[in-house]
């Protein structure tokens, strides 16, 4: 479904991503792991169009999306959430998700009708799916950190995505919240038939939920394979697992 072929990106001579390769098949849940500064977020930014690569190609459903702008990529059905909380702080929870739906349906230019009549059912259904229905009219900035991360995912779902990129969905969450969040993602994946690409620091989460794993170190793809393949790889143990498991 998604293919990243030899993609590189440098910032002032620093190679953030260097000849990275990644394949995600339809319906899979793929994790990208690697130490801090390995280039995971940069890779996600390249796929979602925030950054343009220096070289390489990104193919989605057989179509070259390398140089499309973020909103064009969104319209192709690729939606993402962010590592740092990135919601609309002064809008309510409902409006946060509704905005995403409005944008998908290209209704953001409507100046004359009150917005509260648009896509109420769909927005509420998404809120119900992620468990934020109770907080419908709370201003997003007043939610707890964990709730904001969930809202983050809900906004991505508003785009009716087929492919979801989650940049550290559980960052900053307590262990209990982490489990709840990952179970939610698993549930959504089946309910909405999603293909998911995510990155994560918690190895239990990665090996517990991912179908396949791609390991990045210093911007390069070290290995791409199933959980067992990755676990047994000596390079990975040296570069990453050994360090974080000490």
């Amino acid at each position: 479904m998604l293919e990243v072929k030899g993609v590189s990106k440098s910032f002032d001579g620093f190679m953030a991503v260097s000849r990275a390769n990644l394949t995600v098949n339809k319906g899979e849940m793929v994790a990208v792991i690697g130490p801090n500064g390995a280039g995971k977020t940069t890779l996600f930014n390249l796929i979602s169009g925030i950054l343009k690569p220096d070289s390489g190609r990104i193919i989605y459903k057989g179509e070259d999306i390398t140089f499309l702008s973020p909103y064009e990529i969104f319209r192709k059905g690729i939606c993402r959430s962010f590592q740092i909380v990135n919601v609309f702080q002064r809008l309510t929870v409902f409006e946060n998700v509704q905005l995403s739906v409005l944008s998908r349906e290209k209704k953001t230019w409507n100046l004359l009708m009150p917005a509260k009549k648009f896509y109420v059912d769909e927005t509420e259904r998404i809120l119900e799916q992620v468990g934020l229905k109770e907080k419908r009219d709370t201003v997003a900035g007043f939610l707890s950190h964990g709730e904001q991360k969930i809202l983050e995912i809900a906004i991505a779902l508003g785009g009716k995505p087929e492919f979801v990129i989650l940049d550290e969905p559980t960052a900053g969450m307590s262990p209990e919240e982490t489990v709840m969040c990952m179970e939610l993602i698993k549930k959504l994946r089946h309910e909405m038939d999603l293909t998911i690409l995510f990155c994560e620091h918690d190895m239990d989460v990665v090996f517990g939920y991912a179908d396949r794993i791609m390991v990045m170190v210093r911007g390069e793809t070290v290995i791409e394979g199933t959980c067992d393949e990755v676990r047994c790889d000596t390079l990975v143990q040296e570069a990453y697992l050994g360090v974080s498991d000490e």
Partner: protein, 303 residues
Amino acid sequence: MGKKGLIPIAFLLLLLFPFFLPRFYVYLSSLILIHGLLATSLNFVLGFGGMYQFHHCVFYGVGGYTTALLLTKTSLSPFLAFLAAPFASAILSILMGVICVRLSKLYFGMLQISLGSLVWAIVYRWYSFTGGDDGIHGIPIPHLLASTNSAYYFTLVITALSMFAMYRMLVSPFGKTLQGIRDNPVRCEMIGVNVKLHQLLALIIAGFFAGVAGMLFVIVDTTVFPEMLFWTLSLEVLIMCLVGGWFTFFGPLLGAAILIILRTIISTYTVYWALVLGVIMTLIIFFLPNGILGYIEEKLKRG
């Protein structure tokens, strides 16, 4: 619910003003309405759009001058002259907006203030056309609107209609998108919003209503002068938004009322109005960062 009921009551009260207020105060009320409309149009892009339009008065001045020039230099119908003002301002908004939206936050503001000052310089220097620093005086206004009271009623009705139009736009999908862009432009782009184009449309709308305010000023005051588009007035309008509450719809109107009333009172005692304004601004920033109406709304919500 009770909050919405206040609006028709306030409107009825305003309708009665000319019956019990002396002429000077009716004139002052017109000025408050005009500046309130101007501040609300600025807040459309400032508080709701997150764009630091530091030099908003350019569009007010251009609206005023358009009406004034059409009334004095052509034999067009006066109502055409009134109608032309907002469109002239909107066209200027397109020109400046296209250049400025490429930048964000403070850079947007700095570029906008420079371009706006350029417009001011043209108006200030072009004696043969704009009257230079003298401006244009004694502009002929149609009899129907010539008295203080009729000018006031015209201003009241047009201001109310303009405010209503802006309110509707802010609660529309476009308005919500604009507020989303204010909160988080990057995220907005990620959910498929063409941020710059939405910002440009918002700037055009804001410029349009600033032009309406400029046109109303010509009717009420029968003069135009270059200070209408000098940056100090832009700053004053910005302060109106901040004092009243820039995340509320009626905050800027309240701010305009407070500032103009205070200025009128204080100016009779001292020439240091700017000093008083500075103290007010400092106090507001320290104690009411969301402005007066913002503070009241917060209190009401918490119960």
